[in-house]
């Protein structure tokens, strides 16, 4: 069923409060089980042989010596997996092609990046498995490689895929290219828009790939039975999607794979795709033993999806009184070894905070010899917005208009026509700008070498396929089986709160958990900030079904018409004394009698949730620049965001803070560093620097609530918007502090110091 439940304003008892999450105690006591905590008797350890080259043709793979090593039970290579035709599927916001999935999982003709899997072994222990990897002989023909996106786009650049011709160009090009796709968005007349402009700002930006940086490395355990059934335990954002991907590449029936999701130690889009899962099942099938595979941190960095690095050009035209007349951008995104970057989403998000008549965006999806990118929290948007919001800030400064005021003069609102399709519904962008302008942070005094920056973000948010089961147990408590992964944000608590609110009972009467793939129908990944929106809607539908059945039972028991029975505060009560009079019945009373009145009571929802509400946020940041070292210190940070409705405000604040922190890391220090040889030099948290607690101030949050009309509690989704603005906000704050516009991410000390020294040299 394609579902929306409309928003109804009502008095709330539970929604909007802050109960403890049901998974909290287990997580702080260490009882919670993550991917690597699962074991089976007789299990083997699986390890992967990875390419040391950025690009090479595979001439041969000889596994005989590895297989002969005592303790080695199975080896798989490309020969163990079927060739896949081109076939597209959605994972989160991004699309994958199964032809590429099977090649990314296990190289076929070529290795395409440092870290690309070539073979996997299952052995009785890790040291045996490692020794076996060393015995696998691979003959390579090493080829020149392409790492930089601008270089890779040039004619004559080393080519990754001979069959790849740029899509979206007419006529079809006569030569293959690393540019997998050209796309274009826009409306109005861009040339006319620039002719109307009195001031034009044009800038070019470059960003490096950054990793999602989840703390838990990918880990899975697979067990394949003699009758062709597979069980898989894995850390994933979407167990149904992982099942589908495994079934496809292993050519198995979907129903013969049962995936149980473990607790997840972060994903942020990086656990939307299979890596070792199908290898583990294949090794288990071949060896007859369960196979466990846990990635090292080095493998996580070198072989699982970061997000794109990019080259971004932005041009903005404006009247002197601050009305944007034209907005143009070119977005060149690294896709990694296979096509499918987030350039599409980046294009749509680049300018969709503004009500613009003339827009043109050209995007390129470019294959380079790096790991295939995966989604990362608001995929692509932070990269495009770093450029656009930097240019917006520069324009406001040129015009002498306060940066928030400038944004307000051009802000998108209900009815704004986007340049990619829909008109915007009720949104809270202006409200976030006004709340930011009114916040004491915006007026607080600044010291020497300190500066303040503002930037804003937009994300679509999505709905999609979702199921759940709500079972009334015999004592009147309920179990809520969800099909969307709680990606550690606390969504289980939110769903239980909505169910308890509907039923008028206490929060801890509803026990939420995530069911396995055999227990519910298909659920899309937890991606696109859809969890609390879509699963929340499904949970409310299930709760209302339960209420309906409770009323029916009470009508039967009390021998009154159904219309006479109201559900209020956890009890069936007479609607009105004039219609019927009967003694109210509590939920436990009805539950105890359920067996005799028609059997157990349950609610189900199988929906494709529609009507997700776009989210907007405004960030304010203060920085201090050490002009002798280039170090940038974050002094104060405030996130203002329209979330529709915060079901559990503490967990919403957690999302806003976490997104901002990831954005701060992206802005200041995170980057993939490759050598001339195309080998990744910093595959670890020592030299890939995510922020630590002492790098950060308290991240203040202001929750704005403009309800989404298409959700019973007004939920929009909130997890992705907060990572979009930080990079630009920080660049703007640095500009405000030292008068220099930095356009190369990360804004790391060597870069900032170089800019300061060069500016000083230019002044002399």
């Amino acid at each position: 069923m394609s579902a929306t439940l409309k928003y109804q304003e009502k008095e709330l008892k539970l929604v909007g409060t802050r109960p403890l999450r049901p998974d909290g105690v287990d997580k702080v006591t260490g009882r919670a089980r993550f991917g690597a905590d699962y074991n089976l008797p007789g299990q083997l350890i699986g390890k992967v042989l990875r390419s040391p080259h950025a690009l090479a043709r595979i001439k041969s793979i000889d596994t005989s010596a590895a297989l002969a090593l005592p303790g080695v039970k199975a080896v798989v290579t490309r020969d163990d997996f079927a060739e896949m035709p081109d076939e597209m599927a959605a994972v989160g916001e991004l699309m994958i092609n199964f032809r590429d999935v099977t090649r990314n999982m296990m190289a076929r003709e070529k290795v395409l990046y440092d870290g690309h899997p070539l073979a996997a072994v299952a052995a009785t222990g890790e040291s045996v498995a490692r020794a076996a990897l060393a015995l696998i002989k691979v003959e390579y023909e090493v080829l020149p490689h392409a790492i930089d996106v601008v270089e890779a786009m040039k004619p004559g650049a080393p080519l990754l895929h001979e069959h790849q011709y740029t899509q979206g160009v007419k006529p079809k090009p006569d030569r293959p290219s690393n540019v997998a796709k050209r796309l274009e968005f826009g409306h109005g007349d861009i040339a006319a828009g620039f002719r109307q402009a009195e001031v034009i700002v044009e800038r070019e930006f470059n960003t490096k790939p950054v990793h999602q940086g989840y703390i838990e490395p990918q880990a899975c355990l697979a067990s394949y039975s003699a009758d062709g059934q597979a069980e898989l335990w894995t850390s994933t954002q979407g167990h149904f999607v992982f099942r589908a991907q495994c079934a496809k590449v292993l050519q198995m029936d979907v129903s013969k794979i049962r995936v149980t999701p473990t607790e997840i130690g972060g994903g942020f889009g990086g656990k939307n795709n299979i890596y070792n899962e199908a290898l583990a099942i294949a090794l288990s099938r071949k060896s007859g033993h369960p196979v466990k595979m846990v990635m090292t941190r080095e493998e996580v960095f070198s072989s699982t999806g970061p997000t794109s690095g990019a080259n971004v050009k932005v041009k903005l035209g404006c009247t002197r009184d601050g009305k944007i007349t034209a907005a143009e951008a070119e977005l060149n995104f690294q896709a990694g070894a296979f096509p499918g970057s987030s350039v599409n989403q980046a294009s749509m998000c680049a300018f969709t905070r503004y009500d613009l008549a003339n827009v043109r965006i050209v995007g390129h999806d470019v294959t380079v010899n790096r790991p295939k990118v995966a989604a990362y929290r608001a995929p692509g948007a932070p990269i495009a917005v770093f450029g656009v919001e930097s240019v917006i800030d520069e324009m406001a400064k040129k015009l002498g208009i306060d940066p928030i005021e400038f944004r307000l003069r051009n802000a998108a609102k209900e009815g704004t026509q986007t340049y990619y399709g829909p008109k915007l519904g009720p949104i809270g962008y202006i409200q976030t700008l006004e709340a930011a302008r009114a916040h004491p942070h915006y007026r607080a005094p600044l010291g020497p070498n300190q500066g303040r920056g503002v930037a804003t973000g937009f994300w679509f948010n999505i709905g999609n396929e979702t199921t759940c089961s709500l079972n009334l147990q015999e004592d009147g408590t309920l179990t809520l089986m969800l099909g969307t992964i709680d990606v550690a944000g606390g969504s289980r608590a939110s769903m239980a709160m909505m169910v308890a609110e509907e039923l008028g009972i206490e929060f801890d009467r509803v026990r939420p958990f995530v069911g396995d793939t055999a227990s519910l129908g298909f659920n899309f990944l937890t991606a696109g900030s859809r969890g609390t929106f879509a699963s929340g809607m499904a949970s409310v539908i299930a709760a209302r079904q339960v209420i309906e059945k409770l009323r029916q039972r009470v009508a039967k028991i009390r021998e009154v018409p159904l219309e006479a029975v109201a559900w209020k505060d956890g009890h069936a009560r007479p609607v009105d004394a004039t219609v019927a009079q009967f003694a109210p019945m509590s939920l436990p009373e009805i539950a105890r009698m359920a067996g005799k009145t028609g059997g157990t009571i349950a609610g189900h929802a199988e929906i494709n949730a529609q009507g997700a509400g776009p989210g907007f946020g405004t960030h304010i940041v203060d920085v201090e620049v050490d002009k002798e070292t280039g170090a940038v210190k974050i002094l104060r940070y405030t996130v203002v965001q329209d979330v529709g409705k915060a079901i559990h405000p503490a967990y919403v604040e957690g999302q806003l803070q976490g997104g901002a922190v990831q954005g701060i890391g992206w802005a200041l220090n995170e980057e993939y560093v490759y050598g001339e040889d195309g080998v990744l030099q910093n595959p670890g948290f020592l030299d890939y620097r995510i922020p630590v607690a002492s790098d950060l101030p308290f991240i203040d949050t202001v929750i704005v609530e403009v309800p989404n009309p298409n959700h019973p509690y007004g939920v929009r989704g909130c997890g992705e918007v907060p990572i979009i603005a930080p990079m630009a906000a920080i660049a703007n704050a640095i500009e405000n502090a030292i008068g220099l516009r930095l356009c190369e991410q990360p804004l790391s000390p060597p870069r900032v110091l170089k800019a300061i020294d060069e500016a000083a040299a230019a002044r002399r």
Partner: protein, 287 residues
């Protein structure tokens, strides 16, 4: 791989001597275990020195201190008397990993790991510390700045190990300090580290100084030219600028993922100047 935990220094030396260079000394293990796991080290024998009593002690010794090679960073940080005498050494020790890591890691291990960026080392060099080495031929001592030869290489011979680090008696009117530059505030590795130990006379004139720099060459350096910029001055702005210039001039860094040459050269001067400012504060305060 064999694991041994000898109770005496002599036993440890015998074990190491008999291992044909295929042994590693294990103190806190915060470097060795990581090297074992990553495959960078594959020794046949691990000699754990934590069961040797003299390795675990901080002994006040004729006004100075003898720090056993297996004394953990946290033990040193929490030793209030030592921390009062050598705050600059403690500045460095405090930067070696997280609290949990410092509960295991040792200053001796930080030295023997022979990283050019080791946070514990520049302040030892500035302080004029000696490495107390024991081996099959007996005991010897070496200045810290001569002990490390290059990345991962020390002057330890076959069968030798570091028994202790000897810090001299702190001079009156003196102070030391260590500062490093890292992109993050903690849990990071020095891009540049600078330590200064200086002594004032009764009139506030600097009578002696030593400057140690880390992460700007293949090993931590003693920089006499930088010290000379301070000696005979009241450590005023002009002296500090000369110190910075001399520190920068002494750098022989590389470009790598952690920083550019240009960045390291400039920031080495900045760190040296700022460390000297802290050291002189401490010298004035400590009397």
């Amino acid at each position: 791989m064999r694991y041994e935990a000898p109770k005496t220094l002599e036993q440890a030396i015998a074990l190491l001597s008999g291992a044909n260079g295929q042994a590693r000394v294990l103190a806190g293990g915060t470097d060795v275990l990581i090297q074992l796991r990553s495959g960078r080290a594959d020794p046949q024998l691990l000699v754990d020195i934590k069961a040797i009593p003299e390795m675990r002690a901080v002994v006040a010794d004729s006004g100075g201190y003898r720090i056993g090679a297996a004394v953990t960073c946290m033990e040193l940080i929490e030793n209030e008397v030592f921390a009062r005498d050598w705050p600059g050494v403690v500045d460095g020790v405090k930067l070696i990993g997280s609290v949990q890591v410092k509960g295991r890691a040792t200053l001796g291990g930080n030295l023997c790991n022979a990283s050019p960026a080791a946070d514990g080392v520049p302040a030892l060099i500035a302080a004029g510390a000696l490495v107390c080495i024991a081996g099959p031929l007996g005991r010897r001592e070496a200045p810290v700045e001569d002990f490390v030869l290059g990345p991962g290489r020390t002057s330890l011979g076959n069968g030798e190990l570091v028994a202790a680090i000897q810090l001299p008696r702190r001079a009156p009117h003196s102070g030391d300090a260590y500062l490093r530059f890292t992109p993050r505030t903690e849990m990071d590795i020095a891009v540049v580290g600078a330590a200064v130990y200086l002594t004032l006379d009764g009139k506030g004139v600097c009578r002696s100084a030593r400057v140690g720099l880390g992460a700007v060459a293949a090993r931590a350096l003693l920089v006499p030219a930088a010290a000379a910029a301070l000696i005979g001055t009241t450590v005023d702005e002009a002296a500090l600028e000369r110190l910075a210039a001399a520190a920068s001039a002494a750098c022989r860094p590389i470009d790598d993922k952690r920083g550019t040459k240009q960045f390291r050269v400039k920031v080495a001067g900045v760190m040296a100047r700022r460390a000297a400012a802290i050291a002189i504060e401490r010298a004035r305060r400590q009397g």
